[in-house]
């Protein structure tokens, strides 16, 4: 369970940092009225939707940390036979990076008000994300063809399970991206559109980050890293 505990520690760090700016040691019964100092203690200046997405991403992060924790605990049992990662995954990773970059371009374009660039960015991001999903399915195909079935080894089970979970999250993101894109083509209000694109980009970057983490775990680097850390500690 150490992965999830580390993750929660990070969350706790954020929470602690935020709380430390809320004057939790003030004596509220001595402070009446609406003096100037209280203003900083109210809502954040960030758009509410971004904060909402941030909280949601914390939950998603929690989910994947738990899968990783379970992965490591199960990995230590004797029947674990690691499976070779299909080469295709590297290509998919590249495609996903491209997708994130395209969305980031769309964000920049939206800030500058370049509608055409926004559309181009959104379309590229959507198509590449779709390509990523298809690539993942092809990787599954390859593995099953090579005899690495879901139930033949826990390493395989985890591979399919975690990639499927990640894929589902991308799919959900595509729904959001679709809605934003509709707005881009139908002439939504520019601020609104910009916010939508920024939210998509935030989600995309996060899922890219998660994917890199997953890749590190599935490829075994994470395990190597952990064992090095353990050796350093003992």
């Amino acid at each position: 369970m150490s992965v999830i505990l580390v993750f929660l520690l990070v969350i706790a760090g954020f929470a602690g940092w935020w709380l430390s700016h809320q004057r939790l040691t003030a004596k509220p019964w001595l402070e009446q009225g609406l003096a100037g100092d209280l203003v900083g203690l109210e809502r954040s200046a960030l758009p509410t939707a971004k904060i909402g997405l941030g909280v949601f991403l914390a939950v998603v992060g929690c989910l994947f940390s738990l899968f990783t924790s379970a992965y490591f605990m199960r990995m230590g049992l004797p029947d674990w036979r690691p499976l070779p990662l299909p080469r295709l995954l590297w290509l998919n990773t590249g495609v996903l990076v491209l997708s994130s970059v395209a969305l980031q371009c769309a964000v920049i374009a939206a800030r500058r008000g370049q509608t055409d660039m926004v559309r181009l960015g959104l379309a590229t991001a959507g198509l590449t994300a779709l390509a990523f999903l298809i690539g993942q399915l092809m990787a599954w195909r390859q593995l099953t063809d090579d005899g690495y079935l879901l139930d033949s080894n826990p390493a395989n089970s985890f591979f399919y399970l975690i990639t499927a979970m990640h894929g589902l999250h991308i799919l959900g993101g595509l729904v959001g991206l679709g809605r934003t894109s509709t707005g881009a083509w139908n002439g939504a209000r520019p601020e609104r559109l910009r916010l939508g694109i920024e939210l998509c980009a935030m989600y995309w970057h996060f899922l890219l980050f998660v994917w890199l983490g997953i890749l590190a775990v599935l490829a075994g680097w994470a395990a190597t890293f952990v064992s090095i850390c353990q050796r350093l500690l003992t």
Partner: protein
């Protein structure tokens, strides 16, 4: 007003119930009276706290109930009082925890002279295995379980041949000899529990768990399963008899070894292959532990 009276009655009633009711733990039959002492300490500390809090509440309700013209006192906090209460609570909690941890370290550290005895659970019965003359239990694996070999003892392990197998029958133990119970299950979770011995531990298919104790008086004790294991769970009873040394040896003499039980099939290949390195359940248990430590 009634509520103040009822609060007092609850305290008085609970204390009286505690001391007067006939329902109390069974007379102990093992060395774990340490555990009983820890429970007694816990009862004292928590009982005092419970009574104090509820009686104080009763007093407040009585004394400060609303009457015409009353007004509450304005008192946002009282740092000194709160710090004192925190410190006193911390001391009380430590007084509970420290003896508990000492007893726990006894509980998990098995004395070196303890005899190993294996309990094998399955839906819904108990079987046992005792080491034979060599004093060692052979390895075992759920995959080896067949109708003839219900405990899954590795047929090729020489250490296992003289193991005494007690299938779905009573277990006997010699009095005053420490035993280490090795717990194994071949299907679901179970839990080997004898109330008079105070100790219990879950059994997990695929690994071996343990606890130890020393029976301190002779008698017959009922085994209960204390982990839900399907619809037969409440009926999964067994018997353990704690005997004098003589009675115990007499009983042991009547039991059959693994080799004897599987003899009909084994005629012809009397010499089992030595030195096989089968992944035993014990290895798995060790692995589980290292994994959890991460």
């Amino acid at each position: 007003m009634a509520i103040a009276l009822v609060l007092v009655l609850i305290v008085v009633g609970s204390v009286l119930f505690h001391f007067l009711s006939p329902w109390w733990w069974t007379p102990i039959a093992s060395n774990w009276d340490y555990i009983d002492h820890t429970i007694t300490i816990s009862f004292w500390i928590t009982g005092v706290v419970f009574s104090a809090v509820v009686l104080f509440m009763a007093y407040c309700v009585f004394r400060f109930r609303h009457r015409e013209g009353n007004r509450a006192v304005y008192e946002p906090e009282n740092k000194r009082l709160e710090s004192w209460l925190t410190i006193v609570t911390a001391i009380g909690v430590t007084a509970l925890l420290v003896p508990g941890l000492f007893v726990w370290s006894r509980f998990v550290n098995v004395p070196s002279d303890a005899t190993e005895i294996e309990v094998v659970a399955q839906q819904w019965q108990w079987s046992y295995r005792l080491p034979g003359k060599d004093g060692k239990l052979g390895t075992s694996d759920t995959r080896e379980v067949t109708a003839e070999n219900p405990l899954g003892i590795a047929p090729k392990d020489p250490n296992g041949q003289d193991d005494v197998v007690v299938e779905a029958a009573d277990l006997h133990l010699p009095v005053d000899k420490p035993v280490k119970m090795l717990l194994r299950s071949i299907d679901v979770l179970h839990d080997f529990y004898i109330p008079e011995f105070r100790a219990k531990m879950d059994m997990i298919p695929g690994s071996v768990t343990y606890f130890w104790f020393t029976p301190t008086r002779t008698g017959t004790f009922q085994v209960l399963c204390a982990e839900l294991c399907g619809q037969g769970h409440p009926l999964m009873h067994g018997m353990v008899m704690v005997d004098t040394e003589q009675d115990y040896l007499a009983w042991l003499g009547q039991q059959q070894t693994f080799a004897q039980l599987s003899a009909p099939q084994q005629t012809g290949s009397a010499n089992p292959l030595p030195g096989n390195t089968m992944a035993s359940a014990l290895d798995v248990a060790a692995k589980v532990e290292t994994v959890e430590a991460r």
